[in-house]
Structures are given as C-alpha cells and as structure tokens.
C-alpha cells in the first residue's frame, strides 16, 4: 500500500485554500480510521449542510422502510387474495387496454426530473447561473406533473371504490397500504417542488453568486445548496424505485 505523508497533502492547495473543511488525507480504510480520529473533522470534503441532509435522508430511509415492511407483513398475513395491481392501475388508451400505464409514465417523469436535477447541480458548480435556474424550474415542473398524475390516480381509485378499510378487488389492507405509502411519497415530492421553486428564484436572481443570506437564516448562499437539494430530490426518486418494484410490480 502506498501511503503518502500527511503534511504533503495538508499543504498542497486546492482543497484547503478556501474551504475550512480540513486537509484531505489517505483514501480507503486508513482514511476512514484517520477521519474518525479525535483531532479530526469526520466528514471531509462535505459541507455540514450536505452531511446533515445525508443524516436526514438516513432517517427517512428508515421511515419508508417501516412503511414498506408493514405493507409486506399485511400482504403476507392476509388470507384474502391481494388485488392484481397490474389490472387495478391499467388504463384504456385509444380503445386499448394497457396494464400499469399511468405508473410507467409516472416513473419516466420522475427519472427525467432526476436527470435534470443532476445536470442542475453540475451547472451550478460551473457557475452557469441561467442553465442551473432553467434546469431547476424544469425539475420542479416534472415534479409537479408527477404529483398531478398521482392526484389523478387517487381520484380514479377512490371513484372505483378504494378505501383505506376496503376495496372491490381483494384484501382490505390494500387501500391502507396504497394511500399511506404513495401519500407519504407524494408529500415528499410536493415539498421537493416547493424547495425547487425557492432555489430557482435564489439562483436566478444571483443570490448564490453574491453569497446573499437567506430569508430565514444568516447563512450565506452557496452553490453547494443546489447539491444538497439535489440529494433530497434524488432520494425521492430512489424511494419511488422501491415503491414501483415492491408495491406496483411485485
């Protein structure tokens, strides 16, 4: 193993010049041990806002996991047959019966928004203000489209008789699982859209370039905030990947 002397890395520039995050050290396992040392800031190269977002997402992972595990449990224990999601969420398009169509479109919309968000983060770090703002508003629009389609889906299902305590297709627990899981996810998307709009305004008016403090905080604006918001948005997409697989396809 090729260990480099620490003092060389500590003085060689880029990372330390204008970021107060401590010097870069060794990579890999020795780096992990060194980072957790008592004289060290643990999360190097990560601004605290980003570290805190990761911890928030970690707690959110546990909440969504609890919802999905409860869904698994009621589905296993139910003595009635579970409704065939492929048919429940089918749509009639041009006289044709397409299974799970709406859900597929929603999946593509959310993945598209994840892509535009990733590019927004990239252009943010390149200080390309208008590209960032444009991609952020595009992400917000795609997110709003997703929520709109979810509202349509809920309306359709409720009209067909789905309730948290029963439904016409099978096991009564289906409704409770559906409304809780997709509702909780939809709430996450809605708040994401709200934050995306706020961030679009911040970027567009140049608050991040001028490091202007926020409305509710004295913290100066930085383009890292776009990446932190991006983490949240990708997480929302990530959760949908699991919901799509476990709830709609299984």
């Amino acid at each position: 193993m090729n260990r480099q002397p620490m003092n060389r890395l500590a003085t060689d520039g880029a990372m330390t010049r204008d970021t107060p995050r401590g010097p870069s050290r060794e990579e890999g396992l020795p780096g992990l041990v060194a980072d957790w040392g008592s004289d060290q800031r643990v999360f190097k190269q990560v601004p605290w806002g980003k570290a805190m977002m990761w911890l928030f997402l970690l707690s959110d992972i546990f909440i969504f996991a609890c919802l999905l595990v409860s869904y698994m449990t009621v589905r296993i224990t139910s003595t009635d047959p579970w409704p065939d999601t492929s048919e429940v969420f089918a749509l009639e398009m041009g006289g044709q019966h397409v299974p799970l169509l709406l859900i597929a479109i929603m999946t593509f919309v959310l993945i598209s928004s994840s892509g535009t968000m990733a590019l927004a983060v990239k252009y943010g770090y390149e200080r390309n203000r208008w590209a960032t703002a444009l991609l952020l508003i595009l992400t917000a629009l795609l997110g709003a489209t997703f929520v709109g389609m979810q509202a349509f889906e809920w309306t359709k299902l409720i009209q067909e008789g789905a309730r948290p305590w029963g439904n016409p297709w099978g096991a009564a627990q289906f409704g409770a699982s559906f409304f809780l899981i997709t509702g909780f996810h939809g709430t996450h998307v809605s708040f994401g859209v709200l934050f995306l709009l706020i961030m679009t305004v911040k970027v567009a008016r140049g608050s991040l370039d001028k490091q202007r403090p926020g409305f509710l905080t004295g913290r100066k604006g930085r383009y890292e905030m776009v990446e932190t918001l991006g983490l949240y948005w990708h997480f929302v997409d990530l959760v949908w990947v699991f919901i799509f697989a476990f709830f709609y396809l299984w």
């Binding site: 880029a14 010049r17 204008d18 970021t19 990579e27 890999g28 396992l29 780096g31 992990l32 980072d35 957790w36 999360f43 190097k44 190269q45 990560v46 601004p47 570290a51 990761w54 911890l55 997402l57 970690l58 992972i61 996991a65 595990v69 698994m72 449990t73 296993i76 224990t77 003595t79 492929s86 299974p99 799970l100 597929a104 999946t107 593509f108 993945i111 994840s114 892509g115 968000m117 990733a118 590019l119 983060v121 990239k122 770090y125 390149e126 200080r127 890292e224 990446e227 991006g230 990708h234 997480f235 997409d237 990530l238 990947v241 699991f242 799509f244 697989a245 709609y248 396809l249 299984w250």
Partner: protein, 110 residues
Amino acid sequence: MAHQDTAHPEGQRHPIGIYLWVWFLLFVLSVFSYLVDYLGFEGYLKWTLITLFMLLKAGLIIAVFMHMVWERLAIICVVLVPPGVLVFLMLLMAIEGHYVLLTRLQHFIS
C-alpha cells in the same frame, strides 16, 4: 478538463457524459422493469428480475446522481451501513408474517 479544479475548488465536478449515460441507463432499466409486468412473467423469475432491476437503478442513482462513489469512506459508511439492519427487519417480519398466516388459516379452518 471537467475534473480540473481551477477557480472554485469545492464541490463535486464531473464530466457531463457520465450523467447522461446514467440517465439513459435508468430509462432502459425502467423499461425492463415495466416489461417484466407487461410480458406477464410469474413466480421466482418475475421476483428475481424486479429485484435485480430495482437494485441496479438504486445503485446508479446513489453512486452517480448522489455522488456517493466520489465521497470519502467516512460518509459512505455512515449512510450505507445502518440500512443493512433493515434487511434483517424484513427477514424477521417475513418469518413472523408466514407464522401469522398459518395460525389464521388454522383458525378459519377449524
């Protein structure tokens, strides 16, 4: 050079190609997931394929879109190790669930 840090050294900066590739792969994997349902696969084949595509998509999003492959091991471990216990929870509840189903069926039959 997208990797070269000049004026602004902080933050994650990577070439645009990798983002576009991952974006494209996510679309392809989603189409595959949808096809599993559309073609009407059943049983273990269906469940294996769904899980495989799900994990691939999740891995790509976390690794590239959330920049995890470029982070230091300290934050990777903090984020990715704790959810491991959730697999254990899932396993326990699956065992428990099958037991509950058994007792229910027993009750309804007798």
